[in-house]
Symmetry: C2
Subunit: 216 residues, 2 copies
Amino acid sequence: MTGVRETNRTRTTATILSAARREIAEHGGSGLSMRAVARQVGMVSSAVYRYFPTREALVSTMIIESYGNLAAALAEVTATDPAARWRELARAMRAWTLANPHEFQLIYGTPIPGYVAPPETIPAAASAARPFLEVGSRHAVGAFDELRLTAQMGEMTALVAGAQPSGAAAVLAELAALVGMLTLELAGHFVGSADPADHLVEALLDRQVATLGLTS
Amino acid sequence: MTGVRETNRTRTTATILSAARREIAEHGGSGLSMRAVARQVGMVSSAVYRYFPTREALVSTMIIESYGNLAAALAEVTATDPAARWRELARAMRAWTLANPHEFQLIYGTPIPGYVAPPETIPAAASAARPFLEVGSRHAVGAFDELRLTAQMGEMTALVAGAQPSGAAAVLAELAALVGMLTLELAGHFVGSADPADHLVEALLDRQVATLGLTS
DNA sequence: GGAAAGCAAGAGCAGTGCTCTCGGACGTGC
DNA sequence: GCACGTCCGAGAGCACTGCTCTTGCTTTCC
């Protein structure tokens, strides 16, 4: 019956995805091989194409999964004081990134050449950014209070009740700062200077809570 | 005679590199194909391996070239007032990045899985960071003035006369912020919010000159 | 029971990085 | 002038890749 078929199908899909996850953890996103995935699940490669019509489709699904994993890691944060909460969110993001570097690079790293993010990834990306927006965009931030910039923040402020446009822009910039720091840390750019980067990150967080006006 | 042979060799090497540059501009770093490069220079692929023993060696050489190109773009900046100079350096970096996205991703993007930066790239990377350090690390920055962090800044402050350890750390963080913003912009993460990102970047620069104490 | 749909397997195509062997061109020592 | 060694491009070949197409078995539907 249909229900069972559906179940089998989604189960096989899940098996393939978890095998792909293991592959990516070892060889990175750009090194993901459909044939290697097939081998892991005990299929021949052409069978995998029944479930994912293309390598890119598999990767896209994994990107959405990874956004979900990151969002779940952020949801574990319990601190309520704004400054403390921002710090904990950032630390959780860093911890998740260091534990799952290839997943981080899947979502924030170099897109595979020719890759265009499918629209389904946009809400997934938003779910990872939302916790930061919720705690960080409550106050206006002077440096980001420029008309043509705040005019672009409509969709961002709609995500979060009580968000200030300039605050949302500032959060965007601070998220970019976080992503940049993690990118450079993962790529080893701090070797010879701020390596390990723990202290640099903590100083960044001090600066961020000050910039965002999260007095604690 | 030896001199001529050397000349032929370096000329062929240069030809290969420029073909590889064109390939990367079109297909990205991870899509660089030794055979496609060979085709472009009218050789068979095995001949290319006389000049670059491995694909990774070709990429490494291109990474160093790209650092040089970025450093050259930064060297065009003439502003002398510290705040203006920081802004101009950042704008030059962004302009170079938008004009050469694949080269940017070559140096600051996801490393090819299994890739470890060869030691030759370290001075090349430093030459791109130096102009920012020179203008931005002259003042101490409170949020980055922590002992265990400033203790890591020895190599950085040695690069630049009169650099403050906390200022150098702050510059490192601000460079990461810049890289993060450019990474997200290139990957299309701002589509739907700060796209185009011009205004967000300008606001970021306002915030950066304030953080670094570059009163203008 | 027969038609239809679902799905795994296998062969095959065009591409990849890389290796190895061959053969011609060239500079050098005698 | 001739042999030697070194350089270097060409070609074949190996193991791999993403992806397609055909074949045949199994399960579901009526």
